[in-house]
């Protein structure tokens, strides 16, 4: 190995340090994300699994439709089944789990490898680093969620149309299903990220993330008042409220606006935890 000689004028001598810009951190986080081979794979595998689940369910309906009476068609659409099949609750489980893991790994991957110390030594403004991470992860997972939700919607409805039971995007509630399914992605990713920032360890982070996003909603019952109150504050029940027909007829009904608010509060709170919790702690 040979060593070169520095021929450049010292950058520091001129005292010409450029102003610190947030967009440099955004660009750095963007580079960081896509310079890992695992990133595109994680997104691709998640997309295939989720869309596969939705398409499989729609194909099932298509396949066995012949046994149903032709008159059931109107009732099938009126009950909102085509929309339920646009993004099934099985698919959303995988989707939320994967999004939570994708969000968590952006932080835990950096703690696990020790890279976080290199990062914070290069950019002592730790909160700016985490804010840039939050923005990049939120943006990428929103676009990803929108893609998966749209592809799921159009492919499932195309299959159902083979029996003339699909609906279009302007069908009442259709757009809401797509948007609610798209936006659960950044919400889950940000929650995973916040928990990862607090725990810094992949195993415990995933356990707590799964417990928060998926297990807790299963434990609480929508039929008891106190329990329904908790349920109405969780993102996964909010997704159900926004996508399943008849949510307003439950024992303790809640509004769509309330469900959207739950999305927003969780996303913002998770972002705040991620950004603020690194400020004081030793790294």
């Amino acid at each position: 190995m040979t060593t070169g000689t520095a021929t450049h004028a010292p950058l520091y001598a001129a005292g010409s340090e450029p102003a610190a810009r947030f967009r440099d951190l955004l660009a750095a986080e963007w580079l960081k994300l896509w310079s890992l081979r695992s990133t595109p794979w994680a997104y691709l595998v998640t997309a295939l699994a989720v869309i596969g689940f939705n398409v499989g369910q729609a194909y099932d309906t298509y396949r066995y439709w012949s046994t149903e009476a032709a008159g059931d068609r109107d009732k099938f659409i009126r009950d909102g089944i085509p929309l339920a099949e646009a993004f099934t609750s099985n698919a959303v489980l995988i989707h939320v789990l994967a999004a939570g893991a994708i969000g968590a790994v952006t932080v835990v991957g950096e703690y696990g490898s020790g890279l976080i110390r290199t990062t914070f030594a290069a950019v002592p403004a730790r909160r700016s680093v985490m804010a840039a991470k939050v923005v990049v992860v939120a943006a990428v997972t929103t676009v990803f969620g929108a893609l998966v939700a749209l592809v799921s919607f159009f492919s499932t409805q195309a299959i159902l149309n083979g029996r003339d039971i699909g609906v279009s995007l302007d069908h009442p509630g259709a757009l809401r299903v797509v948007v609610a399914s798209a936006l659960i992605t950044p919400v889950a990713a940000l929650v995973g990220m916040a928990i990862g920032t607090l725990l810094r360890h992949m195993g415990s982070t995933m356990i707590v993330t799964v417990a928060t996003l998926l297990v807790l909603p299963m434990v609480v019952s929508p039929d008891r008042h106190w329990s329904a109150l908790i349920a109405h504050a969780l993102p996964f029940p909010a997704w159900r409220r926004l996508t399943e027909p008849g949510g307003h007829l439950a024992a303790y009904p809640w509004s769509e606006g309330g469900a959207w608010t739950v999305y927003a509060v969780w996303a913002l709170a998770a972002a705040a935890v991620t950004v603020c919790s690194v400020h004081r702690r030793d790294q």
Binding site: A28, L31, K32, R117, P124
Partner: protein, 303 residues
């Protein structure tokens, strides 16, 4: 310039660093020495603002490092060559760091060439790097912002002899350019040919902060070897003069008197000398003696 003043760091009941005060000046290579667990890495982390001191202050160029929005143009630090993500290539790793500090992309290729990782090696994933290659990558990252202050924690670990020679030359050159170069090690021998100044700590406390030559003179290992057929007589004589004498057959090892005094005394009492050789203490001995009380993990015997 790094100024450390009354620096203390406690983790619960354990005190990792206690009332540390020293200054690392520009233009010199300063070695930071101490046995394992002495608090070197903790101190370096506090200089870089990664760990918050329990008490005291540390400034780099007059500023708390954490108050800088971006760091690479002020301090280049290699704390642990493992502080990288194995999934990235060396080029990608450095490109991310450069971008975050608004450093031109061409610097990545420059520093990679400087540390000998140009070409195909730079495009390989770091997971496949040897420790020596990771050290080179860490040094490249420290050089990225062309900073006036450089910190290296055990940079020679894992380097081959050629690499060690190169690193020594690099440190000397960086110091000659007027930069502050602060290099930690737990091996005195690594510093012997590299450092001008030394900061020595043990169990979190300062033992010495002075030039290498002055530090070497502290070692009580410095003494005089005397060979004489009348060893016992001479030993008695020297002991009476206040020296400490170790006798091994015709060979005496004398400390507390210099060669000239021993020679004069022998002459006056007509004792023949066959050999009279002053022996300088090695840095290693000075270091071992001064840190003997502060070794955290002592092998073999209970303390």
């Amino acid at each position: 310039m790094i100024e450390v003043k009354d620096l203390t760091k406690r983790y619960g009941a354990t005190t990792a660093v206690k009332d540390l005060t020293f200054t690392v000046r520009p233009g010199y290579v300063t070695g930071f020495l101490g046995p394992n667990g002495a608090g070197k890495s903790t101190t370096l982390r506090m200089i870089l603002g990664l760990n918050e001191p329990t008490g005291g202050t540390v400034t780099v160029g007059g500023h708390r490092f954490r108050d800088r929005p971006r760091g690479l143009r002020h301090v280049g630090g290699l704390l642990d060559a493992g502080d990288v993500h194995g999934g990235r290539s060396a080029v990608a790793h450095l490109a991310v760091l450069a971008r975050s500090n608004r450093i031109p992309r061409r610097r990545v290729d420059e520093v990679l060439a400087e540390v000998g990782l140009a070409g195909a090696a730079g495009r390989r994933r770091i997971a496949g790097f040897s420790l020596g290659m990771r050290q080179r990558l860490g040094i490249a990252a420290a050089l990225l912002g062309d900073p006036p202050v450089l910190l290296f924690d055990e940079p020679l670990n894992g380097l081959d002899p050629e690499g060690v020679l190169w690193v020594r030359g690099l440190f000397r050159r960086l110091a000659a350019e007027g930069r502050t170069v602060f290099v930690s090690s737990h091996l005195m021998s690594e510093m012997e040919n590299t450092a001008d100044e030394l900061v020595v700590i043990g169990r979190g406390e300062l033992i010495a902060a002075e030039s290498l030559t002055r530090f070497a003179a502290r070692g009580t290992g410095a003494g005089v070897t005397v060979r004489t057929p009348r060893a016992a007589d001479l030993a008695d004589l020297l002991t009476a003069e206040g020296a400490a004498v170790n006798q091994d057959g015709p060979l005496l090892t004398v400390t507390g008197l210099d060669a000239a005094r021993i020679g004069d005394l022998a002459c006056r009492h007509a004792l023949p000398l066959h050999e009279l050789a002053p022996r300088a203490a090695s840095l290693e001995e000075a270091f071992m003696e001064l840190t003997a009380d502060s070794v955290e993990y002592l092998a073999g015997e209970a303390r």
